[in-house]
């Protein structure tokens, strides 16, 4: 077994564990922390169905961001929607046989890769060009964009110029399911691409990428506007009721 194969196998086992356990920990933490007061940003839906619709608009269309800033919205949405399609496209490396729907979106996934890059470049440009965004940007914010851009660029590079042996790549990942280590092609671009993806998985639960699960737990967005009809009482607050 070549050294590289072993190293990358370890890297992805480790990254997957960190991602799954780290994210589970945060999601459990969020769900166990009570929201003791009704604080939806109003006007807010008065029914559960309404909240599902509001949340869907936020997740799919970035409704609030659209109202907030059109440039950030267009670049942000391009990037996220691109990332979504590209991720779907990559599922072909993890399923055998490949589901029909994943087969179907393959060509769109390629364009989506370019959308990702355009979105990321736009978002990064804002960090330099808009003085307010420049002021709030920390090194971590630049590095996150660099990481994502590196992943997208190395991926596109492999699609169009420096092809790698994707059949072997798929065999490698399918092998990981049953601890059967198959050789990974030693192409530098592939190795960079995979290493960066593993880094992204590892930092996910410890960085601002927590905005993804966080949105679903945001009380200003996920609460039903019915405080006069239903009495909300957090467990810690109910202890104040009996003196």
């Amino acid at each position: 077994m070549p050294f590289l194969t072993g190293l990358y196998a370890f890297l992805f086992y480790f990254a997957a564990l960190v991602l799954v356990f780290g994210l589970t920990y945060k999601v459990v933490q969020y769900s166990r922390t009570p929201a003791p007061l009704k604080i939806p940003t109003t006007p807010a839906p008065t029914t559960g169905t309404g909240v599902v619709l509001r949340m869907t608009r936020e997740v799919v269309l970035f409704e609030s961001l659209f109202r907030g800033n059109k440039w950030t919205w267009i670049f942000g949405w391009l990037f996220h929607f691109g990332l979504f399609l590209v991720t779907l496209r990559h599922l072909r490396y993890f399923f055998n046989p490949v589901p029909a729907v994943i087969e179907f979106i393959q060509p769109f996934g390629i364009y989506a890769g370019f959308a990702m890059v355009v979105g990321l470049v736009g978002l990064w440009a804002r960090r330099f060009l808009v003085d307010r965004v420049r002021y709030i940007s920390r090194p971590a914010d630049h590095l996150m964009l660099a990481l994502l851009l590196l992943i997208a660029a190395s991926g596109l590079l492999m699609s169009f110029l420096l092809h790698t042996d994707i059949v072997s790549v798929k065999t490698f990942f399918l092998g990981l399911y049953h601890f059967d280590l198959r050789p990974l092609p030693a192409d530098p671009v592939l190795l960079l691409h995979l290493a960066m993806v593993a880094v992204l998985m590892i930092i996910f639960p410890y960085s601002k990428l927590l905005h993804a699960p966080g949105l679903f737990f945001s009380p200003t967005r996920n609460q039903v506007d019915d405080p006069r009809e239903r009495r909300l009482l957090a467990p810690w607050a109910s202890r104040l009721e009996r003196p």
Partner: protein, 526 residues
């Protein structure tokens, strides 16, 4: 124009986003609370010895108490959507008044003590120890947030800076660093019953005077009862309504509406305050204790309904929190929501055709309407979302012939704060208040130039007080701000009651005056 020791912003026709100018408001801080004001609220009198440790401990506790705080400190991606949304940034240019800039003051401490990334790589993620400098910065900039929630409208994750500034103030109170204005006022509520420290006898006197004034004006006996056991409705209103202009004109309007509705109602001298500054300082316990007064009075006075007067943050606490803090309200009449807003009450009567208006009485005014932030973004009126925008406007249209809205970008859920909300309505913060009012003043000025608007109506005691003070700085008149129920009061056509022309008829036993708990304090305050 009012005299200012600082530069009053120049109003422009088109809203502009200023260039970031760090540090312009670094020197702004409200007066520090004294030990006497801290104790009644359960806070240490001055900075405790191991304050750093205690502050981090408190932050840890709040992180387990409030999901909002936990999620919002984690979720921000620094996208910048909020950066041009805060009226204090637009008015002061200080980047720490951008919502994310303000949040980051706490986020950097959170990262340092509560996240692996901040413990290991503080510089990379912008994490910082809680030093004395950071604490001073907290005190300054968390008292430059009016908790108006405008930022939360535009944030893709709904991050609400108000939640963070409330938590910061709670942490500071717990280590003995309180704000004088808020904490002194809460003490007055506990001691006397209201923010202004008006004792029961003074209220009774004022209300009797009002009854005479209204009778002289209209020839109709409109009653302004207080502490009447057995009244149908308990009216809870901000104490400014009892005497200050233009607030009291609104209160006169409430009484006229109740008169026309033919319901019995009463104020309470013990719960003579709708405002709840416990919210501003982020203290659930104090907010609850203040709210409980309303419950106690509803029980003692045997009322069936509770109605709130014109007050923005009070309506947030009333509508969104009162059921949580002082409910359940199962002993009240289930046919009505608890509490109801006076605007809901008046609007219902209008819909039923039970109020007659002579709109011509308001023809000396061309009106616009200021959506108060807590009503707009943290509550509702009526049955449908957005009723908090439509119901007050419907009342204005029913009582006035000339009404124009300000620019759409500055009203409804995008409304700009008056600049004095969130516990900042104090003279030691006048520069902040004047500068923070700039976006609203701009929109008002535009509609004055374009539509000939002369007056702006509001339904919030803080907004009314703030505009009264701030309008002159911008070359406008202080009386251009009016109460919504002042317009109702002007236009309503009163029906003479049975007792009109039949003086000195005593009320029956059902509405006898009742003694008030907390009477012993009144002598001291007299």
């Amino acid at each position: 124009m009012a005299k200012a020791t600082f530069e009053v912003p120049v109003l422009s026709q088109y809203p502009d986003v200023p260039a970031v100018t760090p540090g312009t408001m670094a020197g702004s801080a409200p007066f520090l609370s004294k030990p006497d004001f801290q104790a009644p609220l359960g806070f240490p009198g001055e900075l405790v010895e191991n304050w750093q440790e205690r502050a981090i401990e408190k932050m840890g506790e709040l992180l387990t108490r409030y999901r909002s705080l936990r999620v919002y400190l984690d979720a921000c991606v620094k996208c910048g959507a909020c950066t041009d949304k805060c009226h204090y940034f637009l008015g002061t240019k200080d980047p720490k008044n951008m919502p994310v800039g303000r949040q980051d003051l706490m986020r950097k401490v959170y990262r340092r003590y509560f996240t692996p990334a901040g413990r290991l790589f503080p510089n990379l993620v912008g994490a910082q120890d809680l030093t004395r400098e950071v604490l001073d910065e907290w005190y300054s900039y968390f008292h430059q947030c009016s908790q108006c929630r405008r930022c939360s409208v535009f944030c893709p994750y709904g991050i609400d800076t108000a939640e963070i500034s409330m938590a910061a103030r709670e942490i500071m109170d717990c280590i003995g660093v309180g704000q004088k204005y808020c904490n002194e006022i809460i003490g007055k509520v506990y001691k006397v019953g209201n923010n202004l420290g008006l004792p029961g006898p003074a209220l009774i006197d004022t209300l009797e005077g009002l009854e005479e004034d209204v009778f002289d004006d209209t020839g109709v006996h409109v009653r302004y009862p207080i502490d009447q056991v057995g009244a149908e409705i308990l009216m809870v209103t901000p104490s400014a309504d009892f005497f200050a202009e233009p607030h009291v004109d609104g209160l006169i309007g409430y009484g006229k509406v109740f008169h026309e509705a033919g319901v019995s109602w009463t104020f309470s001298s013990y719960a003579s305050e709708a405002a709840n500054f416990g919210m501003f300082i982020g203290s659930y316990e104090n907010m609850r204790r203040i709210s409980q007064r309303i419950r106690e009075e509803a029980i003692r006075l045997k009322v069936k309904r509770i109605v709130f007067g014109e007050c923005g943050h009070a309506w947030r606490v009333g509508y969104s929190f009162l059921n949580t803090l002082a409910g359940p309200w199962d002993f009240l009449d289930p046919r009505y929501p608890v509490p109801q807003h006076i605007c809901e009450f008046t609007h219902d009567l209008i819909l039923q055709g039970r109020l007659t208006f002579d709109k011509g009485q308001n023809d000396d005014k061309v009106l616009t309407y200021h959506d108060s932030c807590n009503v707009a973004r943290a509550s509702r009126m009526g049955d449908t979302p957005g009723g908090q925008f439509e119901i007050p406007r419907a009342i204005i249209r029913a009582t006035c012939n000339h009404f124009y809205d300000m620019d759409e970008e500055t009203i409804r859920d995008r409304t700009f704060c008056c600049g004095g909300g969130g516990g900042l309505l104090t003279d030691d913060l006048i520069e902040l208040r004047v500068k923070g009012a700039k976006p609203r003043m701009e929109a008002l000025n535009n509609v004055m130039q374009e539509k000939g608007v002369t007056h702006m109506a509001a339904i919030c005691a803080i907004c009314k007080s703030q505009f009264t003070k701030v309008l002159p700085f911008y070359g406008m008149e202080m009386d251009q701000i009016v109460s919504l129920h002042q317009l109702v009061s002007n236009a309503i056509v009163l029906t003479p009651g049975a007792d009109d022309g039949d003086e000195d008829e005593d009320d029956d036993d059902a509405t006898d005056s009742a003694p008030t708990p907390g009477d012993e304090d009144e002598d001291a305050a007299d």
